[in-house]
């Protein structure tokens, strides 16, 4: 992988926490909690709901640039979400910006270099305050993980 992508930022993008989307997501993660699937707009959303930001994030908003991603060799190693208060309510308009925070290599246990990429997305509310942050660690192995 091209390690010069470290520091790349995507163009900020808008994401609306939509009621129906929250409901669909909650059902897909086996929740029957009325906070997510009950009547009326949800006062909060599931802790991993921002994983659906890809619906809003066009290619210009992706910090990967032209770095090719070989999906056969990509593993999602770690994922973290941090919130300043309750996860955003249905109806909240967020402005998100994704960046490549860190790129580093490690020697794999079975030989072959592994590249670790830490991808951070910050979500701001209308006042500009960061209300949520997503941090993903993506691992590119030197060979397909299944082989």
């Amino acid at each position: 992988m091209d390690t010069s992508i470290e520091g790349n930022r995507g163009k900020p993008f808008r994401m609306v926490v939509e009621e129906g989307k929250v409901r669909e997501f909650a059902r897909a993660v086996k929740s029957s909690n009325p906070a997510y699937v009950g009547d009326g707009p949800q006062a909060t959303s599931p802790a991993t709901f921002l994983a659906s930001a890809s619906f809003w994030q066009g290619s210009e908003s992706s910090p990967w640039g032209d770095a090719p991603l070989n999906w056969e060799r990509i593993l999602h190693g770690e994922q973290e979400f941090v919130f300043s208060g309750p996860p955003p309510a249905a109806g909240t308009e967020l402005t998100a910006e994704a960046r490549i925070d860190r790129v580093y290599e490690k020697e794999g246990k079975r030989g072959g270099a592994m590249t670790f990429v830490e991808l951070v997305t910050e979500y701001r509310d209308a006042s500009g305050a960061v209300v949520a942050e997503s941090r993903s660690t993506i691992i590119e192995t030197s060979q397909a993980p299944g082989s």
């Binding site: 997501f25 897909a28 993660v29 086996k30 599931p46 802790a47 991993t48 082989s147």
Partner: protein
């Protein structure tokens, strides 16, 4: 809510997993990586069959924790994947309080969670921080 260090949430079982479960999550999240539903693609990558979407089980774990400690109370939720989960797997979701502390006038609970396969293997480990409900 009375919480003590070592207190455990009520265990959940989820499964047997199906590719339909994976597809449902993929549709909801927008992650359409074919390795989770296209057998030909998965086999080309060296896997015997499609395997579970890691983020789906992270989400189920978050649902489990939200039912225990309250959906609006989560402030941090982190997972690390270990071994893959496969169609047919029955997964057990569990966790316990590892620390209670106070920060900026709020009572916080740190919890550690595990998703275990029926083989005893660990599918994922999780850590979360919740505001302790009154």
């Amino acid at each position: 809510m009375e919480l003590t260090v070592g207190a455990e949430g009520p265990t959940w079982e989820d499964g047997p997993l199906t590719v339909t479960d994976f597809v449902r999550y993929q549709g909801a999240s927008g992650d359409m990586n074919p390795i989770h539903h296209d057998t030909g693609f998965a086999q080309k990558a060296g896997f015997p069959m499609p395997f579970a979407v890691g983020m789906r089980q992270a989400g189920v774990l978050a649902s489990w924790a939200a039912d225990w400690l309250g959906p609006a109370n989560v402030r941090r939720f982190k997972v690390q994947w270990r071994e893959q989960a496969w169609p047919g797997d029955v997964l057990t979701y569990s966790g316990a309080v590892t620390a209670l502390r106070e920060e900026a006038g709020q009572r916080l609970a740190d919890i550690e969670m595990t998703v275990t396969r029926q083989t005893g293997g660990t599918h994922l480990k999780g850590w979360a921080t919740f505001v302790v409900p009154d």
